[in-house]
Symmetry: C2
Subunit: 252 residues, 2 copies
Protein backbone atom coordinates (compact mmCIF):
# COMPACT_ATOMS: atom_id res chain seq x y z
CA UNK A 1 0.00 0.00 0.00
CA UNK A 2 1.11 3.49 -0.78
CA UNK A 3 0.43 6.02 1.98
CA UNK A 4 -0.53 9.62 1.27
CA UNK A 5 2.66 10.75 2.98
CA UNK A 6 4.75 8.63 0.60
CA UNK A 7 2.93 9.94 -2.47
CA UNK A 8 3.56 13.47 -1.23
CA UNK A 9 7.26 12.82 -0.59
CA UNK A 10 7.76 11.19 -4.00
CA UNK A 11 6.08 14.07 -5.77
CA UNK A 12 8.22 16.54 -3.84
CA UNK A 13 11.40 14.70 -4.85
CA UNK A 14 10.70 15.63 -8.49
CA UNK A 15 11.87 19.14 -7.43
CA UNK A 16 15.49 19.96 -6.69
CA UNK A 17 14.81 21.90 -3.47
CA UNK A 18 13.05 18.93 -1.89
CA UNK A 19 15.77 16.54 -3.06
CA UNK A 20 18.33 18.68 -1.23
CA UNK A 21 16.10 19.23 1.80
CA UNK A 22 15.45 15.49 2.23
CA UNK A 23 18.81 14.34 0.88
CA UNK A 24 16.99 11.89 -1.39
CA UNK A 25 16.33 11.34 -5.08
CA UNK A 26 14.20 9.03 -7.24
CA UNK A 27 15.18 6.34 -9.71
CA UNK A 28 12.72 4.49 -11.91
CA UNK A 29 12.95 1.51 -14.17
CA UNK A 30 14.54 -1.86 -13.68
CA UNK A 31 17.94 -1.07 -15.28
CA UNK A 32 18.37 2.14 -13.28
CA UNK A 33 17.31 0.68 -9.95
CA UNK A 34 19.35 -2.53 -10.28
CA UNK A 35 22.44 -0.55 -11.31
CA UNK A 36 22.09 1.70 -8.28
CA UNK A 37 21.67 -1.30 -5.97
CA UNK A 38 24.83 -2.88 -7.44
CA UNK A 39 26.75 0.39 -7.03
CA UNK A 40 26.26 0.18 -3.27
CA UNK A 41 24.28 3.42 -2.93
CA UNK A 42 21.89 3.53 0.02
CA UNK A 43 18.34 2.59 -1.09
CA UNK A 44 15.93 4.19 1.34
CA UNK A 45 12.77 2.57 0.06
CA UNK A 46 11.69 0.64 -2.99
CA UNK A 47 8.20 0.41 -4.51
CA UNK A 48 7.59 -2.32 -7.05
CA UNK A 49 5.07 -4.73 -8.46
CA UNK A 50 4.92 -8.19 -6.90
CA UNK A 51 6.26 -9.71 -10.10
CA UNK A 52 9.31 -7.42 -10.21
CA UNK A 53 10.15 -8.16 -6.57
CA UNK A 54 9.90 -11.92 -7.20
CA UNK A 55 12.19 -11.66 -10.24
CA UNK A 56 14.79 -9.57 -8.44
CA UNK A 57 14.67 -11.06 -4.94
CA UNK A 58 18.38 -11.98 -5.04
CA UNK A 59 19.30 -8.28 -5.27
CA UNK A 60 16.94 -7.02 -2.58
CA UNK A 61 17.93 -8.77 0.65
CA UNK A 62 18.64 -5.70 2.77
CA UNK A 63 16.26 -3.27 1.12
CA UNK A 64 13.01 -1.93 2.51
CA UNK A 65 10.41 -2.95 -0.06
CA UNK A 66 6.78 -2.05 -0.60
CA UNK A 67 4.69 -4.07 -3.04
CA UNK A 68 2.33 -1.85 -4.97
CA UNK A 69 0.03 -2.23 -7.96
CA UNK A 70 0.83 -1.01 -11.47
CA UNK A 71 -2.00 1.45 -10.99
CA UNK A 72 -0.33 2.94 -7.89
CA UNK A 73 3.04 3.05 -9.68
CA UNK A 74 1.41 5.09 -12.42
CA UNK A 75 0.31 7.62 -9.80
CA UNK A 76 3.87 8.29 -8.60
CA UNK A 77 5.82 7.83 -11.84
CA UNK A 78 7.47 10.66 -13.75
CA UNK A 79 7.41 8.58 -16.93
CA UNK A 80 4.81 8.49 -19.65
CA UNK A 81 5.15 4.67 -19.65
CA UNK A 82 5.65 3.80 -15.96
CA UNK A 83 7.95 0.88 -15.25
CA UNK A 84 7.61 -1.79 -12.59
CA UNK A 85 9.82 -0.20 -9.96
CA UNK A 86 10.55 3.15 -8.34
CA UNK A 87 13.11 3.72 -5.61
CA UNK A 88 13.94 6.50 -3.16
CA UNK A 89 17.72 6.71 -2.79
CA UNK A 90 20.17 8.68 -0.70
CA UNK A 91 21.40 11.72 -2.63
CA UNK A 92 25.16 11.54 -3.25
CA UNK A 93 27.17 14.60 -2.37
CA UNK A 94 27.69 16.44 -5.66
CA UNK A 95 29.29 19.53 -4.17
CA UNK A 96 32.31 18.19 -2.34
CA UNK A 97 35.60 19.47 -3.66
CA UNK A 98 37.35 16.72 -5.55
CA UNK A 99 40.45 16.93 -7.68
CA UNK A 100 40.45 16.31 -11.40
CA UNK A 101 41.62 12.80 -12.23
CA UNK A 102 44.79 13.76 -14.09
CA UNK A 103 45.48 10.23 -15.34
CA UNK A 104 42.33 9.81 -17.43
CA UNK A 105 39.96 11.78 -19.62
CA UNK A 106 37.23 13.67 -17.77
CA UNK A 107 34.34 15.89 -18.93
CA UNK A 108 33.39 19.44 -17.90
CA UNK A 109 29.92 20.75 -18.81
CA UNK A 110 29.21 24.46 -19.01
CA UNK A 111 25.54 25.40 -18.61
CA UNK A 112 23.88 22.31 -20.09
CA UNK A 113 20.19 22.92 -19.44
CA UNK A 114 18.38 20.03 -21.14
CA UNK A 115 17.87 17.02 -18.82
CA UNK A 116 17.85 14.55 -21.72
CA UNK A 117 21.18 15.90 -22.96
CA UNK A 118 22.82 15.67 -19.52
CA UNK A 119 21.53 12.12 -19.02
CA UNK A 120 22.79 11.07 -22.45
CA UNK A 121 26.20 12.66 -21.77
CA UNK A 122 26.53 10.69 -18.50
CA UNK A 123 25.50 7.49 -20.30
CA UNK A 124 28.02 8.09 -23.11
CA UNK A 125 30.82 8.91 -20.63
CA UNK A 126 30.16 5.58 -18.90
CA UNK A 127 30.34 3.74 -22.24
CA UNK A 128 33.75 5.20 -22.97
CA UNK A 129 35.05 4.59 -19.44
CA UNK A 130 35.05 8.26 -18.34
CA UNK A 131 34.37 8.31 -14.61
CA UNK A 132 34.29 12.02 -13.70
CA UNK A 133 32.00 14.79 -14.91
CA UNK A 134 32.25 18.35 -13.60
CA UNK A 135 29.18 20.54 -14.13
CA UNK A 136 28.97 24.32 -13.88
CA UNK A 137 26.57 25.30 -11.11
CA UNK A 138 24.00 26.47 -13.72
CA UNK A 139 23.90 23.03 -15.37
CA UNK A 140 20.66 21.10 -14.81
CA UNK A 141 20.62 18.87 -11.71
CA UNK A 142 21.87 15.34 -12.46
CA UNK A 143 19.33 13.94 -9.99
CA UNK A 144 16.36 15.42 -11.83
CA UNK A 145 14.17 12.35 -12.64
CA UNK A 146 14.46 13.02 -16.40
CA UNK A 147 18.26 13.00 -16.19
CA UNK A 148 18.34 9.85 -14.03
CA UNK A 149 16.06 8.14 -16.56
CA UNK A 150 18.21 9.12 -19.56
CA UNK A 151 21.39 7.83 -17.92
CA UNK A 152 20.01 4.26 -18.03
CA UNK A 153 21.91 3.30 -14.90
CA UNK A 154 25.16 5.08 -15.75
CA UNK A 155 24.67 7.65 -12.98
CA UNK A 156 25.45 4.78 -10.61
CA UNK A 157 28.97 4.54 -12.06
CA UNK A 158 29.93 8.10 -13.10
CA UNK A 159 30.82 10.68 -10.42
CA UNK A 160 29.07 14.01 -11.12
CA UNK A 161 30.28 17.12 -9.26
CA UNK A 162 28.84 20.65 -9.40
CA UNK A 163 31.47 23.31 -9.08
CA UNK A 164 32.73 26.66 -10.32
CA UNK A 165 34.58 25.58 -13.49
CA UNK A 166 36.67 28.75 -13.43
CA UNK A 167 38.08 27.86 -10.01
CA UNK A 168 38.47 24.22 -10.99
CA UNK A 169 40.56 25.13 -14.03
CA UNK A 170 42.62 27.73 -12.15
CA UNK A 171 43.69 25.04 -9.72
CA UNK A 172 44.35 22.21 -12.16
CA UNK A 173 47.91 21.08 -13.01
CA UNK A 174 49.25 23.45 -15.67
CA UNK A 175 50.09 20.73 -18.17
CA UNK A 176 46.68 19.01 -18.08
CA UNK A 177 45.10 19.72 -21.49
CA UNK A 178 41.60 21.18 -21.87
CA UNK A 179 39.88 20.25 -25.14
CA UNK A 180 37.21 22.86 -25.88
CA UNK A 181 34.44 22.00 -28.35
CA UNK A 182 34.04 25.09 -30.53
CA UNK A 183 32.67 26.04 -33.95
CA UNK A 184 36.22 26.56 -35.16
CA UNK A 185 39.44 24.86 -34.18
CA UNK A 186 41.41 21.78 -35.10
CA UNK A 187 39.12 19.24 -36.82
CA UNK A 188 38.49 16.35 -34.44
CA UNK A 189 39.23 14.06 -37.40
CA UNK A 190 42.86 15.11 -37.11
CA UNK A 191 43.14 14.52 -33.37
CA UNK A 192 44.85 11.50 -31.87
CA UNK A 193 43.35 9.57 -28.94
CA UNK A 194 44.36 11.13 -25.62
CA UNK A 195 45.40 9.55 -22.37
CA UNK A 196 44.17 12.38 -20.15
CA UNK A 197 42.67 15.86 -20.17
CA UNK A 198 39.31 17.59 -19.80
CA UNK A 199 36.69 17.59 -22.58
CA UNK A 200 34.86 20.92 -22.19
CA UNK A 201 31.35 21.13 -23.68
CA UNK A 202 29.27 24.32 -23.70
CA UNK A 203 25.55 24.87 -24.11
CA UNK A 204 24.00 24.72 -27.57
CA UNK A 205 22.52 28.18 -27.21
CA UNK A 206 25.53 30.02 -25.80
CA UNK A 207 28.59 27.85 -26.42
CA UNK A 208 31.40 27.85 -23.87
CA UNK A 209 31.34 30.88 -21.51
CA UNK A 210 33.77 33.68 -22.37
CA UNK A 211 35.45 33.40 -18.98
CA UNK A 212 36.37 29.75 -19.63
CA UNK A 213 37.82 30.28 -23.12
CA UNK A 214 41.33 31.25 -21.88
CA UNK A 215 41.69 27.87 -20.17
CA UNK A 216 41.28 25.92 -23.41
CA UNK A 217 44.61 24.46 -24.51
CA UNK A 218 43.21 22.66 -27.60
CA UNK A 219 40.37 24.20 -29.60
CA UNK A 220 38.62 21.38 -31.43
CA UNK A 221 35.70 21.30 -33.85
CA UNK A 222 33.53 18.69 -35.57
CA UNK A 223 33.64 19.34 -39.31
CA UNK A 224 30.31 19.48 -41.16
CA UNK A 225 30.08 17.84 -44.57
CA UNK A 226 26.93 19.66 -45.55
CA UNK A 227 27.57 21.68 -48.70
CA UNK A 228 24.36 23.64 -48.13
CA UNK A 229 25.12 24.49 -44.52
CA UNK A 230 23.58 27.86 -43.73
CA UNK A 231 24.31 30.06 -40.77
CA UNK A 232 21.29 28.48 -39.20
CA UNK A 233 22.91 25.09 -39.01
CA UNK A 234 24.64 26.33 -35.92
CA UNK A 235 25.76 23.31 -34.07
CA UNK A 236 25.16 19.71 -33.31
CA UNK A 237 23.10 18.71 -30.31
CA UNK A 238 25.35 18.99 -27.21
CA UNK A 239 25.09 15.29 -26.35
CA UNK A 240 25.95 14.35 -29.95
CA UNK A 241 28.99 16.68 -29.99
CA UNK A 242 30.12 15.18 -26.69
CA UNK A 243 29.70 11.63 -28.03
CA UNK A 244 31.74 12.25 -31.19
CA UNK A 245 34.53 13.91 -29.18
CA UNK A 246 34.55 11.09 -26.57
CA UNK A 247 34.66 8.55 -29.40
CA UNK A 248 37.53 10.28 -31.18
CA UNK A 249 39.65 11.04 -28.09
CA UNK A 250 39.05 7.74 -26.24
CA UNK A 251 39.56 5.53 -29.29
CA UNK A 252 42.19 2.91 -28.61
CA UNK B 1 -5.67 38.27 -33.08
CA UNK B 2 -5.95 34.56 -32.66
CA UNK B 3 -9.38 33.15 -33.42
CA UNK B 4 -10.83 30.21 -31.49
CA UNK B 5 -10.89 28.20 -34.72
CA UNK B 6 -7.14 28.76 -35.16
CA UNK B 7 -6.36 27.75 -31.57
CA UNK B 8 -8.39 24.59 -32.10
CA UNK B 9 -6.63 23.77 -35.38
CA UNK B 10 -3.19 24.35 -33.89
CA UNK B 11 -3.93 22.13 -30.91
CA UNK B 12 -5.25 19.42 -33.23
CA UNK B 13 -2.05 19.54 -35.31
CA UNK B 14 -0.12 18.31 -32.26
CA UNK B 15 -1.72 14.92 -33.07
CA UNK B 16 -0.69 12.82 -36.06
CA UNK B 17 -4.22 12.00 -37.22
CA UNK B 18 -5.12 15.68 -37.56
CA UNK B 19 -1.81 16.45 -39.30
CA UNK B 20 -2.69 13.84 -41.92
CA UNK B 21 -6.35 14.87 -42.11
CA UNK B 22 -5.50 18.53 -42.67
CA UNK B 23 -2.23 17.90 -44.51
CA UNK B 24 -0.51 20.39 -42.23
CA UNK B 25 2.11 20.45 -39.47
CA UNK B 26 3.53 22.96 -37.00
CA UNK B 27 6.99 24.47 -36.69
CA UNK B 28 8.08 26.70 -33.84
CA UNK B 29 11.11 28.82 -33.17
CA UNK B 30 12.97 31.25 -35.36
CA UNK B 31 15.62 28.81 -36.67
CA UNK B 32 13.06 26.16 -37.60
CA UNK B 33 10.62 28.54 -39.26
CA UNK B 34 13.26 30.49 -41.23
CA UNK B 35 14.86 27.25 -42.44
CA UNK B 36 11.50 25.97 -43.65
CA UNK B 37 10.80 29.27 -45.45
CA UNK B 38 14.21 29.07 -47.18
CA UNK B 39 13.58 25.44 -48.16
CA UNK B 40 10.62 26.56 -50.28
CA UNK B 41 7.99 24.58 -48.36
CA UNK B 42 4.47 26.02 -48.47
CA UNK B 43 3.81 28.13 -45.34
CA UNK B 44 0.07 28.18 -44.78
CA UNK B 45 0.00 30.70 -41.96
CA UNK B 46 2.49 32.26 -39.61
CA UNK B 47 1.86 33.62 -36.10
CA UNK B 48 4.54 35.81 -34.59
CA UNK B 49 5.24 38.73 -32.33
CA UNK B 50 5.41 42.17 -33.93
CA UNK B 51 9.13 42.35 -33.19
CA UNK B 52 9.90 39.03 -34.88
CA UNK B 53 7.93 40.03 -38.00
CA UNK B 54 9.82 43.34 -38.20
CA UNK B 55 13.19 41.58 -37.87
CA UNK B 56 12.37 38.99 -40.51
CA UNK B 57 10.32 41.04 -42.99
CA UNK B 58 12.73 40.28 -45.86
CA UNK B 59 11.88 36.58 -45.61
CA UNK B 60 8.11 36.95 -45.34
CA UNK B 61 6.97 38.73 -48.50
CA UNK B 62 4.51 36.11 -49.75
CA UNK B 63 3.49 34.63 -46.44
CA UNK B 64 0.17 35.05 -44.65
CA UNK B 65 1.11 36.56 -41.29
CA UNK B 66 -0.78 37.17 -38.10
CA UNK B 67 0.75 39.36 -35.40
CA UNK B 68 0.01 37.99 -31.95
CA UNK B 69 1.17 38.71 -28.42
CA UNK B 70 3.69 36.62 -26.49
CA UNK B 71 0.80 35.70 -24.22
CA UNK B 72 -1.19 34.29 -27.14
CA UNK B 73 1.88 32.44 -28.44
CA UNK B 74 2.19 30.79 -25.06
CA UNK B 75 -1.37 29.49 -25.42
CA UNK B 76 -0.63 27.66 -28.67
CA UNK B 77 2.98 26.62 -28.12
CA UNK B 78 4.13 23.05 -27.52
CA UNK B 79 7.29 24.32 -25.86
CA UNK B 80 7.96 24.96 -22.21
CA UNK B 81 9.72 28.20 -23.24
CA UNK B 82 7.61 29.47 -26.16
CA UNK B 83 9.51 31.25 -28.92
CA UNK B 84 8.45 34.28 -30.94
CA UNK B 85 7.01 32.46 -33.92
CA UNK B 86 4.84 29.48 -34.80
CA UNK B 87 3.92 28.46 -38.34
CA UNK B 88 1.41 26.11 -39.94
CA UNK B 89 3.05 24.43 -42.92
CA UNK B 90 1.99 22.06 -45.66
CA UNK B 91 2.82 18.48 -44.70
CA UNK B 92 5.35 16.97 -47.12
CA UNK B 93 4.49 13.59 -48.56
CA UNK B 94 6.45 11.11 -46.46
CA UNK B 95 4.91 7.98 -47.96
CA UNK B 96 5.71 8.31 -51.64
CA UNK B 97 7.90 5.54 -52.98
CA UNK B 98 11.37 6.89 -53.62
CA UNK B 99 14.50 4.99 -54.49
CA UNK B 100 17.52 4.83 -52.24
CA UNK B 101 20.20 7.29 -53.28
CA UNK B 102 22.86 4.76 -54.25
CA UNK B 103 25.60 7.36 -54.69
CA UNK B 104 25.65 8.62 -51.08
CA UNK B 105 25.22 7.42 -47.54
CA UNK B 106 21.63 7.24 -46.31
CA UNK B 107 20.06 6.23 -42.97
CA UNK B 108 17.32 3.68 -42.22
CA UNK B 109 15.62 3.76 -38.80
CA UNK B 110 13.87 0.71 -37.40
CA UNK B 111 11.24 1.47 -34.75
CA UNK B 112 12.74 4.62 -33.20
CA UNK B 113 10.05 5.74 -30.75
CA UNK B 114 11.55 8.71 -28.91
CA UNK B 115 10.79 12.07 -30.62
CA UNK B 116 13.96 13.70 -29.27
CA UNK B 117 16.09 10.88 -30.65
CA UNK B 118 14.48 11.07 -34.11
CA UNK B 119 14.91 14.86 -34.19
CA UNK B 120 18.54 14.59 -33.14
CA UNK B 121 19.20 11.90 -35.78
CA UNK B 122 17.75 14.16 -38.50
CA UNK B 123 19.87 17.08 -37.25
CA UNK B 124 23.03 14.95 -37.19
CA UNK B 125 22.32 13.56 -40.69
CA UNK B 126 22.07 17.14 -41.98
CA UNK B 127 25.39 18.04 -40.35
CA UNK B 128 27.14 15.18 -42.13
CA UNK B 129 25.47 15.87 -45.47
CA UNK B 130 23.14 12.85 -45.42
CA UNK B 131 19.98 13.80 -47.30
CA UNK B 132 17.74 10.73 -47.08
CA UNK B 133 16.28 8.97 -44.03
CA UNK B 134 13.98 5.95 -44.35
CA UNK B 135 11.84 5.18 -41.30
CA UNK B 136 9.99 1.96 -40.54
CA UNK B 137 6.26 2.63 -40.35
CA UNK B 138 6.35 2.14 -36.54
CA UNK B 139 8.95 4.91 -36.09
CA UNK B 140 7.61 8.07 -34.43
CA UNK B 141 6.21 10.68 -36.85
CA UNK B 142 8.88 13.16 -38.00
CA UNK B 143 6.28 15.95 -38.01
CA UNK B 144 5.45 15.50 -34.31
CA UNK B 145 6.17 18.98 -32.80
CA UNK B 146 8.84 17.52 -30.47
CA UNK B 147 10.70 16.00 -33.42
CA UNK B 148 10.43 19.18 -35.50
CA UNK B 149 11.80 21.15 -32.55
CA UNK B 150 14.78 18.81 -32.00
CA UNK B 151 15.77 18.96 -35.68
CA UNK B 152 16.60 22.68 -35.30
CA UNK B 153 15.68 23.37 -38.93
CA UNK B 154 17.29 20.26 -40.41
CA UNK B 155 13.93 18.72 -41.30
CA UNK B 156 13.75 21.40 -43.98
CA UNK B 157 16.79 19.87 -45.71
CA UNK B 158 16.60 16.11 -45.03
CA UNK B 159 14.02 13.98 -46.88
CA UNK B 160 12.24 11.62 -44.46
CA UNK B 161 10.23 8.73 -45.93
CA UNK B 162 8.10 6.17 -44.05
CA UNK B 163 8.16 2.78 -45.67
CA UNK B 164 8.37 -0.97 -45.11
CA UNK B 165 12.14 -1.39 -44.68
CA UNK B 166 11.90 -5.06 -45.63
CA UNK B 167 10.46 -4.18 -49.05
CA UNK B 168 12.90 -1.29 -49.44
CA UNK B 169 15.90 -3.58 -48.86
CA UNK B 170 14.49 -6.36 -51.06
CA UNK B 171 14.37 -3.93 -53.96
CA UNK B 172 17.69 -2.18 -53.46
CA UNK B 173 20.66 -2.82 -55.78
CA UNK B 174 22.38 -6.01 -54.60
CA UNK B 175 25.81 -4.42 -54.17
CA UNK B 176 24.64 -1.48 -52.04
CA UNK B 177 26.04 -2.13 -48.54
CA UNK B 178 23.88 -2.06 -45.42
CA UNK B 179 25.79 -1.17 -42.24
CA UNK B 180 23.85 -2.54 -39.27
CA UNK B 181 24.58 -1.11 -35.80
CA UNK B 182 24.69 -4.12 -33.49
CA UNK B 183 26.12 -5.09 -30.09
CA UNK B 184 28.69 -7.26 -31.84
CA UNK B 185 30.35 -6.90 -35.21
CA UNK B 186 33.35 -5.14 -36.71
CA UNK B 187 34.47 -2.29 -34.43
CA UNK B 188 33.55 1.03 -36.05
CA UNK B 189 37.08 2.17 -35.17
CA UNK B 190 38.37 -0.22 -37.85
CA UNK B 191 35.98 0.94 -40.57
CA UNK B 192 37.01 3.21 -43.41
CA UNK B 193 34.85 6.12 -44.56
CA UNK B 194 32.26 5.00 -47.10
CA UNK B 195 31.04 6.62 -50.28
CA UNK B 196 27.60 5.04 -50.21
CA UNK B 197 25.39 2.56 -48.37
CA UNK B 198 22.63 2.49 -45.77
CA UNK B 199 23.31 3.02 -42.05
CA UNK B 200 20.67 0.90 -40.27
CA UNK B 201 19.84 1.88 -36.66
CA UNK B 202 17.42 -0.11 -34.49
CA UNK B 203 15.55 0.86 -31.36
CA UNK B 204 17.35 0.94 -28.01
CA UNK B 205 14.87 -1.45 -26.46
CA UNK B 206 14.65 -4.05 -29.22
CA UNK B 207 17.64 -3.52 -31.53
CA UNK B 208 17.23 -4.17 -35.24
CA UNK B 209 14.20 -6.37 -36.08
CA UNK B 210 14.95 -10.03 -36.78
CA UNK B 211 13.44 -9.80 -40.25
CA UNK B 212 15.92 -7.07 -41.25
CA UNK B 213 19.07 -8.82 -40.00
CA UNK B 214 19.61 -10.90 -43.19
CA UNK B 215 19.91 -7.70 -45.24
CA UNK B 216 22.91 -6.44 -43.24
CA UNK B 217 26.09 -6.75 -45.32
CA UNK B 218 28.38 -5.19 -42.65
CA UNK B 219 27.73 -5.77 -38.96
CA UNK B 220 29.32 -2.90 -37.04
CA UNK B 221 29.61 -2.11 -33.38
CA UNK B 222 30.82 0.76 -31.19
CA UNK B 223 33.39 -0.60 -28.75
CA UNK B 224 32.92 0.28 -25.07
CA UNK B 225 36.01 1.15 -23.03
CA UNK B 226 34.31 0.60 -19.74
CA UNK B 227 36.13 -2.08 -17.78
CA UNK B 228 33.21 -2.39 -15.39
CA UNK B 229 30.58 -2.73 -18.08
CA UNK B 230 27.79 -4.95 -16.81
CA UNK B 231 25.07 -6.60 -18.81
CA UNK B 232 22.97 -3.65 -17.87
CA UNK B 233 25.09 -1.25 -19.86
CA UNK B 234 23.19 -2.44 -22.86
CA UNK B 235 23.67 0.17 -25.48
CA UNK B 236 24.30 3.77 -26.23
CA UNK B 237 21.39 6.12 -26.82
CA UNK B 238 20.16 5.55 -30.41
CA UNK B 239 20.92 9.12 -31.51
CA UNK B 240 24.44 8.88 -30.03
CA UNK B 241 25.10 5.55 -31.78
CA UNK B 242 23.87 7.07 -35.04
CA UNK B 243 26.12 10.13 -34.58
CA UNK B 244 29.28 8.11 -33.95
CA UNK B 245 28.58 5.88 -36.96
CA UNK B 246 27.82 8.88 -39.21
CA UNK B 247 31.01 10.55 -38.01
CA UNK B 248 33.15 7.46 -38.65
CA UNK B 249 31.65 6.53 -42.02
CA UNK B 250 31.34 10.07 -43.42
CA UNK B 251 34.79 11.21 -42.32
CA UNK B 252 36.73 12.59 -45.25
Amino acid sequence: MLSKARIKLINQLKQKKYRELNNMFLAEGSINVIDFIKSGINIIELFATEKWIQNNEHNLSLISQTTISSKDLKKISSLSSPSEVLAILELPNTKSTINIDVKNLTIALDNISDPGNLGTIIRTADWFGIKQIFCSTNTVDAFNPKVVQATMGSLARVKVTYTNLNTLFENKPKDLPIFGALLSGKPITEMQPQKNGVILIGSEAHGISNELLPFISHKITIPSYNQNATNNLESLNASVANAIICYALCKK
